[in-house]
Point group: C2
Chain length 214, copies 2
């Protein structure tokens, strides 16, 4: 298909597609004349994946390049892909020198019986969140972590099940991307719905006026 059809079918504007091509997020099409290229169903699929991680995950172009690199890596493995993708979606390294935040994170991980990996991206992301919470005066935020861990264990099991439900290795790797980026966004939405539901129940008990949409 031509770029116009690629745009129509993906919903991504032509200038954005050209930008992704220049940035190497989408492989070049097959040239059919000096200034025309043909794109395949594979391009369409990759383009949709780029759009998903950019629009839902809010990933930067650099982070998307990392994520796609994990899918295209000739020595790819599920385990390696998980590492790369955790790195790409992690917020910038914020809490580097906050020793209290480091201590809170370490105590938390050890309480869970988990391996202490201070250099892993997910761990550093956690330290960053704790340091930020402390900076805005919410030291007690660290007390919420054990509750998060209780919720996270069955989710992590489900994440791995989801990946294992794939039929091919490429599908499994994509499952890691989708499960991580869309999974975090879905969790945020479901948590907000549940919070709203509870808060609405309580508001209704005290006050018969219907609460505004949240």
């Amino acid at each position: 298909m031509r770029i116009a059809e690629l745009s129509r079918r993906s919903g991504v504007p032509v200038p954005t597609i050209k930008y992704y091509l220049r940035e190497g997020l989408l492989p070049a099409g097959e040239l059919t004349s000096p200034n025309q290229a043909r794109y395949s169903e594979g391009h369409l699929h990759r383009l949709r994946l780029v759009r998903a991680v950019v629009e839902v995950g809010g990933l930067s172009i650099a982070a998307v390049r990392e994520v796609l690199g994990a899918l295209d890596d000739p020595e790819k493995s599920l385990h390696k892909a998980m590492g790369t993708i955790s790195a790409a979606v992690a917020p910038p390294d914020l809490g580097g020198d906050d020793e209290v935040a480091h201590e809170q994170a370490r105590a938390f991980v050890e309480r869970q019986g988990w391996v202490y990996r201070p250099k892993s991206y997910a761990y550093r992301a956690l330290v960053g969140v704790l340091a930020t919470a402390r900076e805005v005066g919410h030291e007690r935020f660290a007390e919420t972590l054990d509750g998060l861990a209780r919720a996270a264990r069955p989710l992590a099991e489900a994440d791995l099940e989801y990946v294992r439900g794939a039929e091919t290795e490429d599908e499994a790797l994509e499952g890691v991307v989708v499960g991580t980026v869309l999974g975090d966004a879905a969790m945020a939405a479901v948590r907000a719905i549940a919070r709203r539901e509870l808060s609405g129940q309580r508001a209704t008990e005290d006050d018969p006026c219907p609460p505004p949409d949240a």
Copy 2:
């Protein structure tokens, strides 16, 4: 304090502080001469809050303005603030016309015994995630939602407990911001650590080589 001290204590560069002042994210300081202003501890606190939601939550300037508006609203209430903050952190409205995604979200909410609020931001965010998953060929992603809900219920309880643990109304409102923005980031990090832990255990059972950091 002068702007230089505000910068030093917050870790936010002076040009960025000036940008926040121009954008109205930080109230103007008290003018002490035509081109010098004095800032209070209140400014420092607000600046740290802005930094937290921008850097950890990845919120846009427009979204931060919405969030802060909820804190400054003279008719503010916890319930209203939750609505505004859900709206601000929700990803752009993506799945508008995907009827299957709408149906998946509606069936999910009804299965949970929750009120169906198709116009709420959290619900629309969920439809957007489901539509995106379908677009990249992950129709079965919708099957993961019930697991998310089981995890989300106790978290939502904890979120409300956290807010109720505040001593003043302003602190409670800030608790909604911190609990939502930092809470989602912390959950993503903890889920990644738990996933890594499980995946590492399995990798070690099959293969004695230590897996790379993730």
